[in-house]
Symmetry: D2
Subunit: 396 residues, 4 copies
């Protein structure tokens, strides 16, 4: 059944999501720890495709080499047993006090050196586990105060680190790409590379931009009041959608990490439509994991945790089903045509038309009837939007 | 006197700023029109360096060729008379109903062709007037609804237009560069290229990225809750600060266009410090016009308009004076050193150090004392911030 | 059919909504004027219950007495003809330059006197038309700058005016109540009485608080990041929901005035559920007009205007249908019970229990097992939310 | 010297502020615990007037009666020794898992009973310590999801609890008043009584509204994009400013709790001006403690903690000095007069003037020259704002 998750749906979860113990800035944990092995078994049972983690989700910061190895080996065994994959891993460079001014852009050089070592080690682990995407969320790279650091210098250090990691995977022959996860603020007052735009612009300044893309997160862009679907579309245009973090956010406030679709539902609908139907010939525009990076609310016990995990997948599948029906509806096709979207797909200049030709075309300017757009030539956007919302509501 | 504006300060104003008649979404104009010639004379008298405009600030959309020419010639004469410059011009592709779904990305192809012609014509005017910067604010390029257009297709059309304009200035031999002005929303629900980051990423996909940079505006980035100084620093890092729009905004809300410094004063201070003292050897990091793109409040009559124009320049000069004193204060230098910013300026790897060398350096990882950062090794950021605010307040 | 609007649904529209000519801060009108008589006939045809207006929607600010009377009489005739009602009217105290610093709180005393006269005249008109609600949106009552006025003094003047209006309807024997419409900002930088909370607190300081309630608007509260449904619930608790403005808003930004439901869809769902099913015995919690205060997007022509009018009503009816099904679903009832909402409906102290009794009850404190709430006693909120969203999506 | 804090300045600090160990949602503590006794001695040394605390800042949730008593007695001894006061205390009803759905409005009745007991016990402690203000911050009273609870029912429970506490202090003869501290969100998605307005409206529904006022916090109102000074002015108008929390916030985002003045500096200036100079005859409008509720940034060690404590007091004193000079400047007085603020202080109706008199006054309406406000009769707000900012910057 279309609403029952299977590995073919490529749903993945961070170990830190279902495993979140629910401490927040004003309260202590409400849940005990969830072991990685238990988590992966349960996720497999629910129909997930894979699990992801930060190094210190799997083993503590202080772990000895033996402890680290034991945790890794147990995870690999569990993967073998369940068929689950580890398509992405990432590094915790934000929790420990040592990272209090960031990792790769800390003003403290020794911290930066330590951070690079920690990340390199984790890249080796990614390679060992067959993870093809290595996420970098620089949540502590930033500042509360404008005079705490020269942002240009910090970006130079960020670039130095990113170039070093890129060269490392090349030198090691690893089949790994990097995905930067932007966020505007929290836990720092202002974080470096605050939006998908800033991160893509930065990537273009790297030695190997082809190795680095994005891991955009729904809530992070929405925390800046930005349209997530539009941001993903630009990332696709630029060839930079390497991974994606799905969750929910209710407006500009602290990072809520709700279940996917439990925030801005209409935007979640257009996102799934883009991912599933926006590709060539109406197929998938993105084929990688649908990764949930959310937090089961602090009010929930372990049953609520698993309900929330299921809710994420069900929301995605429901939205996908609605998007398919939306695209198939002849009324929708007619309404789309009325908005003249097919004209947007045409180049503005004709085939072989030069600028001189355009300048010579008096119909384009001198004889163009601009006044016809007053009280006429409406675009029919509201009607199409209403159709979209009715499909979202299963009302057609 | 340092607080009296002179042309050397390079202060410029949009004709649409002092000339704004103060109609807003809920009210009609409270002021009559201000002629371009009167404006340029008055601005010259106040110590400005130049004036900028949209084509339809100088002559109406419906102007005949003769009317257009008369307005241009009168402006040129006024420039000659006053010594004022026209360093930048821009095109109105947002006011007339024809642009209701945008200009270069309207779903309506005829509108796009018309828009390109209107812009080409204005590029010729820029060349005629010696303007070296051509600003493109695509305020109508966007949508209210996620299904109104495929953003990827819209970006293709945006690119087609930008490439065409770039080729045009090359072909015509014009010494003109383009500056894209990002804005997240208003008047559209979501505008394409919503932040400095998104615009820089887009520029990298153009045929001639070297011809295109940014014209960031204080309020536009702050409408997305972003740190303007940090955004400008990234633009400088990427070599894309081609022009700048100074004004004031009080948080995430409608576009306020207040006087520069009358919004987030501390951020205005760090911005001026960056522009004036952030360059090589502590000189200017940006040498172009300090362009005010603001609106004299609707409550003001013409006296208030000129008070507000003066206030912009005075704010800049005051902040510059404060920034100079801040940088010269030995206590500040000491506090900056305590934040270890000099270490951030050092590369993380040593001169000639390879990744292998770093991996071999046990002091960097195995023997590194991460625990020393608990209850120690503070960064002293608050003390420095307090010093900065005291300098801003003239209290040291 | 449940999805076809009828007067029993009590849908009303402002004349300024469908009649909006679509001028915005950056563009001129894209549509011509729509006459009140045409509007009321068309709305009647679509199934509306009534129409509302500002004085200057019906006749211009400069109208002569004869012009004003002619417009009023024509409207009354059209009401008679169509069966449409005028349940609410309001006064334009914001568009004309005279109101540039507000109406009843302008620093200019002559403006305040003029404003009061204009409003009194319009109260008489309300009485003449049988409108029982008189809305006061003080959109210009506010400031851009903290030093422009002493807010306490401005509130005194606001109170003086509100008291005067209250006494006037008492003296005239009018059956009219007032409804204040809060808004946080736009067109002023900060507006007095910015939220439903501030307005209710202010009302409590009036001579006749019973005469004054609220007209909350979806988008206005959401522009402050507030939960509209929660605000309406508090207004109901305080007996102050006198009228309601329905529309859509996509987050904290300029006032969008989208179609109801085209913004935060989930919050629109909970709102309709509250209004329709939150009353005693599961009936209506609010029985007044469902008033749409929205703007047909500037991209639309007159066909789009009427499509958008229909969309508002259809959204409400769809959400009502979904809310009915939600409440009727036994799985939902079970999930609600699991959240212990029935316990919230019980008083915290038992019937007849005194504070001393509570203090003497060791089970409440000394023997209470607080630790049971760690890793247990979850509230099941996510599961219920998922059920709600599935009902909203017509997926159950 | 005016910039050296003394007890006469009435500066107070929460023990949880300087004692914050700097754990945040993404990182563990960076500082060790700070004992209450050490804290109070150090604060006394810095010139503070008093210290405040939550019960569980002084002794842990799990403390035995003996441990609790020992901590209280030690605190009292330290107060005696240092001369420090405890003018306010408050209760932690948000950190422990038991409060995961709130305290007095938890859906779980047993939790509500426990919470009331915990608060009653702390009211006794307030009385014992001579604290005259008892703050109630209901940070966990709220929801993430609209269907988690009926907000009206939750408000009934809130009211039940507030009434019970009020009756308790009456019955016990305590000289204690309550101050509700509003916050829009974080840690809950939406918190009950989200703004000063909502809280004041709620207070009016209590049995003893005279016992309950507000403890507004700078950052909390600014997290909703509201003007803090304007909110305080309304609270003063309504007689509800019982206490105040000073800190800094940079726009709509997570709760930053920066040093006072390190956020919106201009708004901090107008606030201090209101508090210090807004009273009768230009005296203090509020005479209670100036309470700092901030967090020393996580980047700081203990030296930075004390620097930040000093910075709060110095900012207040600097702003007070600037406000005094602002009010004393004849140019400012002239500019204020030009804004016609003296007219706002006049009643709109004349002494003894009736509504009938106003209606009969043709100069007020029929002969009023509204057109004079077009291109004339400006309010001079920008000029005054510029003067204010110059005083803030010490530039006059």
């Amino acid at each position: 059944m279309a609403l029952t998750p299977t590995p073919a749906d490529k749903f993945t979860f961070g170990l830190w999501t279902i495993g979140w113990q629910a401490a927040d800035p004003f309260g202590s944990a409400t849940r005990g720890p969830l072991g990685a092995i238990e988590a992966i078994h349960k996720l497999a049972e629910l129909g997930a495709y894979g699990m992801t983690f930060h190094d210190n989700d799997l083993f503590p910061f202080e772990a000895t080499e033996a402890e680290r190895r034991a945790a890794i080996d147990a995870l690999k065994a569990a993967c073998d047993e369940t068929g689950m994959t580890i398509p992405m891993i990432t590094t915790n460079t934000f929790s420990h006090p040592v990272f209090k001014d960031g990792g790769v852009t800390s003003n403290d050089r020794a911290v930066r050196r330590f951070t690079i070592r920690k990340i390199l080690r984790n890249i080796d682990l990614a390679a060992e586990l067959g993870a093809s995407t290595f996420v970098m969320w620089g949540g502590r790279e930033g500042a509360e105060y404008d005079f705490s650091k020269d942002i240009r210098v910090a970006l130079e250090r960020y670039r130095e680190a990113a170039n070093l990691f890129g060269q490392y995977v090349i030198d090691q022959g690893y089949d790994i790409k990097f995905a930067i996860e932007p966020k505007p603020n929290e836990p720092r007052g202002d974080i470096l590379l605050p939006t998908v735009g800033h991160a893509m612009a930065f990537i273009n300044t790297l030695d190997h931009p082809e190795l680095v893309g994005l891991n955009p997160e729904v809530g992070h862009e929405q925390m800046a009041g930005l349209n997530f679907t539009a941001g993903i579309a630009q990332a696709l245009d630029h060839g930079k959608l390497f991974h994606i973090d799905l969750n929910g956010q209710r407006g500009i406030k602290y990072d809520q990490d709700l279940v996917f679709g439990h925030g801005d539902l209409i935007n979640a609908f257009s996102l799934v439509d883009l991912l599933e139907n926006g590709g060539p010939g109406g197929g998938k525009a993105y084929t990688g994991p649908r990764h949930f990076d959310y937090k089961p609310s602090r009010t929930e016990d372990i049953d609520g945790v698993w309900e929330s995990a299921k809710a994420n997948m069900r929301m995605y599948l429901l939205l996908k089903e609605r998007a398919t029906a939306f695209r198939a509806d002849p009324d929708v096709q007619e309404a789309i045509a009325a908005t003249r979207q097919h004209e947007l797909a045409q180049t503005t200049l004709g085939d072989g038309e030069s600028v001189a030709d355009l300048v010579a075309d008096s119909s384009a300017y001198e004889d163009f009837d601009a006044e016809a757009y007053f009280d006429g030539k409406g675009f029919g956007f509201v009607k199409l939007q209403q159709l979209a919302v009715e499909h979202l509501m299963g009302a057609r």
